[in-house]
Amino acid sequence: MNQPVRPDVPPSPTPYAAPPHGVVGQSCGRLDGATKTTGAIKYGADLFWGRAELFVKVVRSEHAHAEVKSIITSEARAVDQVMGVYTHNDMPGTNLQGLILRDHEVLTSGRVRYMGDAIALVVAESEATARLGADAVQVEYEPLPVIDSIESALAKDAYPLYKAGNIMGGKRIRKGNVDEALAGAAVVVTESFETQSVDHAFLDLEAGVACYQDDLLTIEAPGQWVHEERRLIALALGLEPEHIRIIQPATGGAFGGREDISIQIYLGLAALKHPGKTIAMRLDRAESVRARHKRHAMRIEYTLGAKSDGSLTAAKVTVYSDEGAYASTGPAVMRKAASHATGPYRVPNVSVDVYGVHTNNNPTGAMRGFGACQMAIAYEGMMDRLAIKLEMDRFDLRIKNLIQSGDEVTTGQHIQVATAVECAEAAMGKFREVNGGLLVQPDEAHLRRGFGMSVICFGLGYGDGFPDCARARVAFDDAGKAVVYTGGVDVGQGLINMVAQVAADELGLQLDNVRVVAADTALTDESGSSSATRQTYFTGNAVKLAAEEVKEELLDIAGAHLQLHPHEIELTSGFARAIHVPGKEIAIKELVAQGKKRGYKLDQQAQFKPGTLCEDFDTGQSPRSFVTYLFGAHVSQVLVDIETGEVKVERHIACHDVGKAINPQAVRGQITGGVAQGIGMALMEEVISKKGRILNGNFTDYILPTIKDVPHVECIVLENTDPGGPFGARGVGEPPLIGAVPAVLGAIQDATGTAPNILPCTPERVWRMLQDGTNA
């Protein structure tokens, strides 16, 4: 064939198009790494031990459900060194907390609904005396029936926990005609899944300090969204938000577990009652597990229909979600579960009903995956089952049904850059690098090896019409260093480096010429929560926009100095350089000094606020429910002892398309951690409770994976540019966990021939499943 002759001319230069050319894409060490390593940086617990003058202890309910008849505090007040005992009567404000519905009393006035409910607050001169005081508070209860499971909440004669009953709310999706499609399907598979209650189990327990002085209440305690915390604390305590300052200390993990207010309002109340004193409070592990919200346990009933060639035709899904005693972020988790019910697959007919069910268990709220995690267990479990029924290869069945760029997900949103297939192929490709993907079965008859896979998608950001905005400020300080101000909190995931690297890259600076001021309501603007895998995309964009503004100023300053048009100048490695004239340059430090004299501000703010559209009430459809979607695929290989039920993960491959890895090492860290957490959820982690009382509220009995349970995670990082992300970046936080769980479960099915549907797959559950043919 004749090729048209093309002269070998390079494309014309576009000097103002700026791909990352500096520190973005480099695995720069953590800016806070040295102080974290030496211990110089202060976590909440360091503040607790450092400056406290008075200590707070909370009296928590002894019953999962009861009417509080009386609270007698006189004996507690009489305890030596006890400085004050407070109840709901002493709350100056609304006394309400809760992220979406504000339905949860800070100090209970009438009814306790779970064993973490707080009844009174004791302030004393030492932690020990505060505890003695708390023990001396006498509470008289009239016990009420305890609803401890979804089943008992839905029972016909169930005690109604709220006036409206035990159903908190719901969410539905209607698309096409499911019943007709199922009736016409060549194959139909039905299964139900039970996922468990999971604790966030971050190592850095809740601890912090507060002080009320000069009409300002300052609270330093770890959260995930300082500005929202300020709003909620203000309402609960009857203050105006401008009289509250929230400062985030260094924080060791969150995973959604710090989204709900934890100790902040107690600290604030005590500080208001004892002005001028530094108040301290901390939870120990037992109290943290008892008091704090958990991941929703869900019952998922799933029916999937397909043509005989494997094309999916219909999905009918009903979900019951244990919301626990209060709403927390439950309404949003339900919505996210619904919009992720069919994952990355093309399904023309969909019907989803999600019901939130109140119980007297711990409230359930945000946790890494946020409803999408439970649904991935279900839809990937269904794909494995369907493949068996169709006698089709699991991988081929998935590839056949995965959405491609331009296709729509369950909510009807068309996905611009859908790289599910690429992720799946990359993960399988990696798996096949060993022995062509053929597993060698062990010699021992009781050991079986198998592998499983998952492909997942995840809508980034709050989405669904919820206002989602990030703000940032970039300025040069007097020493000539660039300072990034962001309201976003670094909970250990590396937000500080992310914003610093974005700003440094944009301004052509080395990382050590950037400093970050983060998560202090007095110094930074609202930038939304560190959740929903959103900070790189949202705050990264806001920082980039602010830095671009400063960059324009720098280029103007440099233009006059170098006698060039700004388009002919680039900022790189600390210098403004003439692009076409080698050697013509000026140090950015110099420019900053000059510019300040010449009246340039070099101090710019920006916000990033891409809108989303609320999903339709009746159909759940929305042309743009999320700003962008993330894709990932995992392959997991396990060894199962079919006599004892023990499962060992031998290999785990995780591929995620992050758009652009701002810091590749940090991305691999997130993926590895997510897989570890996913293995924990698949095999061992489970909050076990009976009648609302948690039985394993410590790390001896709440089983987290150890290094012996997690193999070296083989990370594949794909970088298909996101059209809207900073330098093309999307994010990475939640998807690694979401992908890990179903891949491990699929591997158990492959190894044993029996598919698990109850989590976690402890040795006993797997054994029982193999005895009965199901682990139900």
Partner: protein
């Protein structure tokens, strides 16, 4: 008061004088857990770790004599499969560096891995008193009831005696837990076969005490370990243990696992000839 004598004799004196009013501490890996949970000891503490020779392992005519303060890290190095492997399965490296055999026997948890391995080795424990001297007890007589032992208020565990590798033909160990390390046994089993033909079989977490499966052992005495016998023994072990249901595992599962583990550990004791037999 916190006592830290530098000889074991001085420790024995203190224990004899204060009896229940003083609590010995070895590695602290059981005791400190309680303190961390806010339980107070309420009594004085007798730290044994400074006592000379509290960590020694000696050979004496056909036996190994382990001092009470022998750590799991030390036991891991021994050439006795069931004990070394049981020790290696305990906690994580930190716990194995601190935790001691005396502590394991004194705590007498039904899930005590060291205790189960020692039971299968038909070990003896030496209980010492400053004035009355010492007495040796077979471990099978030492564990009495849930966390109750023959150890007197005024005594200390001074030594444990086990047959040397030369008296042992083979031993084996298996533990089931929910994860790969820092793992409480859901069920564990140990077995040993001695040169005189005796076989001992012990289980953890299936009775109020670390238990020897004496009924099952009877089936095995003097018999070649054929496939058929192993099968029979597995059934017998499962019938003999008395596990309870708790949220860690059900009694059903534990019983079933005793059969599986009995067969596994006994298989490892088989000679090559026996392996060929049906």
């Amino acid at each position: 008061m916190f006592y830290r004598p530098d000889t074991f004799a001085a420790a024995l004196r203190l224990k004899a004088d204060h009896a229940a009013a003083i609590k010995p501490i070895s590695g602290g890996t059981d005791l400190v857990v309680g303190l961390n949970r806010g339980q107070s000891l309420g009594v004085d503490v007798l730290d044994l770790t400074a006592a000379k020779d509290y960590r020694r392992i000696d050979h004496a005519d056909g036996s190994l004599i382990l001092s009470g303060g022998t750590t799991f890290a030390q036991l891991e190095q021994l050439d006795i499969a069931c004990l070394a492997r049981a020790a290696a399965s305990v906690g994580g490296p930190q716990i194995r560096n601190r935790g001691t055999i005396a502590g394991n026997l004194a705590t007498a948890s039904p899930a005590g891995d060291g205790s189960v391995a020692l039971l299968a080795l038909d070990a003896e424990v030496e209980l010492a008193h400053a004035d009355r001297g010492t007495r040796w007890l077979r471990l099978i007589d030492y564990f009495e009831d849930y966390r109750q032992t023959a150890l007197g208020d005024d005594e200390l565990i001074s030594h444990v005696r086990i047959p040397t590798p030369s008296a042992l033909q083979a031993s084996a160990w298996y533990k089931i837990g929910k994860r790969g390390a820092v793992n409480i046994s859901l069920v564990c089993a140990a077995a040993a076969r001695f040169l005189d033909g005796r076989i001992c079989l012990a289980f953890g977490s299936v009775a109020p005490i670390p238990m020897r499966a004496v009924q099952t052992e009877k089936l095995l005495q003097g018999q070649p370990l054929t496939g058929a016998l192993l099968h029979q023994a597995a059934q017998a072990a499962s019938a003999e243990v008395k596990p309870i249901d708790d949220w860690r595992a059900s009694a059903d599962y534990r019983k079933a696992m005793c059969a599986v583990l009995a067969r596994r550990v006994l298989e490892q004791l088989q000679t090559d000839d026996e392996r060929q037999m049906p």
